[in-house]
């Protein structure tokens, strides 16, 4: 589904990603872990198309289509979804109206007719229940006055509504207490299917107890330095990131 080859990206002329390779197939969940500043969030933002990030080399293909050529909205329409680490509050834009606009633009892009109001509302209700998102929040202004946990749950609710091919969860666990974390994880697990894929970016192994990944990758200094299965996450948890730093730096020194 997603192929990343030799991706280099910079912010304000500082290179953050330095030759990243990753292959994600439909139905898989990949976890990206790594110490602070290793480039985890940069990867999510580059994939979603944030303009302050410059891609200096490499390619990203989504089902064979060059993702880097596309605007952020077209990437979303092609099926890329970034669950933000810090969801934005937009007073005056209702959650529902926002979703309706997003969904109809995505459908139009795919050549589908707009959803009937009734179908849309039915879908809203179903997905709200699926991801345990409070109906009262759905009718409020987008994220306005939401708690940290509510914002993250709203991201998962949007994910459920927009049904992307590839979802990137950018530190969705940060700032969540254990109950909120369980709800978010349960939502994600409900949405997993053989047709979609997830990239879960996280600093801690904790989230991966609830969203069990097929593969775990460790990002360090802008490159994936270790890949493995979920046991790698446990090993990391036990030994700490210093273990990675030391071994990788030692390898590079040779």
């Amino acid at each position: 589904m997603l192929t990343i080859n030799n991706l280099h990206a910079a912010v304000e002329n500082q290179e953050i990603l330095k030759g990243l390779n990753l292959e994600v197939k439909a139905g898989e969940v990949h976890a990206i872990m790594g110490p602070n500043g290793s480039g985890k969030s940069t990867l999510g933002n580059v994939l979603a198309g944030r303009e302050s990030y410059d891609v200096t080399a490499g390619e990203v293909l989504l089902d064979g289509k060059d993702l880097l050529e596309l605007s952020p909205e077209d990437r979303a329409r092609e099926g890329v979804f970034l669950a933000f680490q810090y969801p934005v509050e937009i007073p005056g834009v209702s959650n529902i109206n926002f979703l309706k606009t997003a969904l109809s633009e995505i459908r139009e892009y795919k050549g589908l007719p707009p959803l009937e109001a009734k179908e849309f509302l039915k879908m809203v209700k179903e997905k709200q229940q699926l991801v345990e998102f409070d109906a009262k929040l759905a009718n409020r202004s987008l994220n306005e006055g939401f708690s940290g946990g509510e914002k993250k749950r709203n991201e998962i609710f949007q994910l459920a509504m927009l049904e992307p091919k590839l979802a990137i969860l950018d530190e969705t666990d940060s700032g969540l207490d254990i109950d909120a974390l369980r709800i978010v994880a349960r939502g994600v697990n409900q949405l997993r299917s053989k047709d979609n894929a997830f990239i879960v970016i996280t600093h801690y192994q904790r989230l991966l107890e609830y969203i069990v990944p097929d593969f775990v990758h460790v990002l360090y200094k802008g490159r994936i330095v270790r890949s493995g299965t979920k046991e790698l996450a446990l090993e990391l948890e036990e030994k700490g990131y210093d273990w990675i730093k030391e071994t990788v730096d030692a390898e590079n020194a040779v």
Partner: protein, 433 residues
């Protein structure tokens, strides 16, 4: 008479007044007009040296030659589509180049409502009582000029206890094929415990020549009366406006002004003054200004709390695009007698055009000691984070901008009492982006 190739407006007006002085002498307004003209002559047109006109240079506009009266020929193929508010059922009043057009206007179908060309209203008791009683007490030089030389306009009066079944929609059309300086004078009197809605639209006929319009409206809301006043500035680039609205409110009355300006008219200066001259008066001034191109729009408001226990609420939003300029000046007076006043003012600005400008000045003068007054002012740009967030969900950049501007305007548009007008204004915002 010698026609000069070019003559500044001031000289033209002096000459016009002298020529018409004989006509005025025979008129019941003669003395009033004479005094008003004397006052205008003393001060003349304002310059940017005057604090109230600091950002608003009228000199380029008044240093031109205009025709002072519209052509006698009736205007043909008048297209009112630009002023049509979809689904708005209203009594229609059409003014072409300032003159009330009886043929195009709907005849008033209710006894409670009087609608007359203002020049024919001089015998009306309400006219005699209120005309030139309020606006002429301010120091805006365009008011005495208007009083001295206005030709036409509309007089609207609603009898006491009457609740008007549908809004009065006044459409001002600028249509002259020769450059025109038009002076329109309006008087609205809402009787005791009467209620009405007024929607004013301003449009420019395609192909109209450069025109400068000096509008003065006096509005009286008597005890317990309620007036919802929508002002929709949708004219074209050929049109320029000096617009003075003076509101006088009596006890227990409510006045809501919704002042909406959209891309089009090159120059707009609105003076909106509310005098809360009795206790338990409530006034709301809402403004939404969306500018584009080289447009200049200036809103100067005064909320004058003269008596105790009154409430005023003012919220203006400016959105400037391209190289346009918006000015907001909000004066609030709380006079010594006006204890227990509750006054609120907020002005928010969103500069979209990198070379657009906003000048904003809240100005509170409080002489009473037991009052609640709050004000705030913000200036910002498009929130890039919000824009990216919306786009990352598949919403196009253009649509994301529309959503964000709607959101910005929401504090004001959500206050519209009339749903139909609100929808129309939201549509105009979308179109203007």
């Amino acid at each position: 008479m010698i026609t000069q190739v070019s003559e500044p407006l001031y000289k033209q007006l002096i000459r016009a007044y002298d020529e018409e002085v004989a006509v005025h002498a025979a008129n019941s307004l003669g003395e009033l007009r004479k005094l008003a003209f004397e006052r205008f002559k003393q001060v003349g047109f304002p310059t940017v040296k005057s604090e109230d006109w600091k950002y608003t240079n009228v000199q380029p506009l008044v240093n031109q030659t205009y025709s002072l009266s519209a052509s006698e020929q009736p205007v043909v193929d008048l297209d009112l589509a630009g002023a049509t508010v979809p689904d708005l059922d209203a009594y229609r009043i059409i003014l072409v180049d300032g003159a009330y057009d009886e043929a195009l206007s709907s005849s008033a179908v209710t006894d409670a409502l009087t609608v007359l060309p203002i020049e024919k209203a001089t015998e009306d008791l309400a006219f005699a009582k209120h005309f030139a009683e309020y606006a002429d007490k301010t120091d805006n030089p365009f008011v005495p000029l208007n009083t001295a030389l206005f030709k036409s306009g509309v007089f609207v009066s609603l009898k006491k206890d009457a609740v008007l079944d549908k809004p009065v929609h006044i459409i001002h059309v600028s249509a002259s094929e020769a450059p025109l300086f038009a002076q329109t004078r309006n008087l609205f009197v809402v009787g005791r415990y009467a209620e009405m809605e007024v929607v004013e639209s301003l449009i420019t006929k395609d192909g109209a020549a450069h025109n400068l319009n000096n509008h003065v409206s006096e509005i009286v809301v008597q005890e317990g009366g309620k007036l919802q006043h929508y002002y929709l500035q949708t004219a074209g680039a050929a049109s320029n406006y000096l617009n003075h609205t003076e509101i006088y409110q009596e006890k227990h009355s409510l006045y809501n002004h919704y002042n909406c300006t959209f891309p089009g008219a090159s120059f707009v200066r609105n003076n909106i003054n509310v005098r809360l001259d009795d206790s338990e008066v409530e006034s709301h001034l809402y403004g939404i200004t969306l500018t584009a191109g080289d447009q200049f729009v200036d809103n100067h408001t005064i909320v004058d709390h003269l008596k105790p226990h009154c409430e005023s609420y003012e919220w203006y939003k400016n959105i400037t695009q391209d190289t346009s300029t918006a000015v907001f000046n909000g004066k609030i007076f709380v006079r010594e007698d006006a204890q227990k006043t509750n006054a609120f003012q907020q002005n928010n600005n969103m500069l979209i055009g990198e070379r657009s400008a906003v000048y904003t000045k809240p100005q509170l003068e409080i002489f009473a000691d037991d009052v609640k007054c709050s004000h705030g002012c913000t200036i910002g740009q498009f929130d890039q984070e919000a824009l990216f967030y919306l786009r990352a969900r598949g919403i196009s950049e253009a649509q994301a901008r529309v959503l964000l501007v709607h959101a910005f305007a929401f504090d004001v548009t959500s206050r519209f009492a009339n749903e139909t007008v609100r929808r129309y204004v939201e549509h105009l915002v979308e179109e203007g982006l």
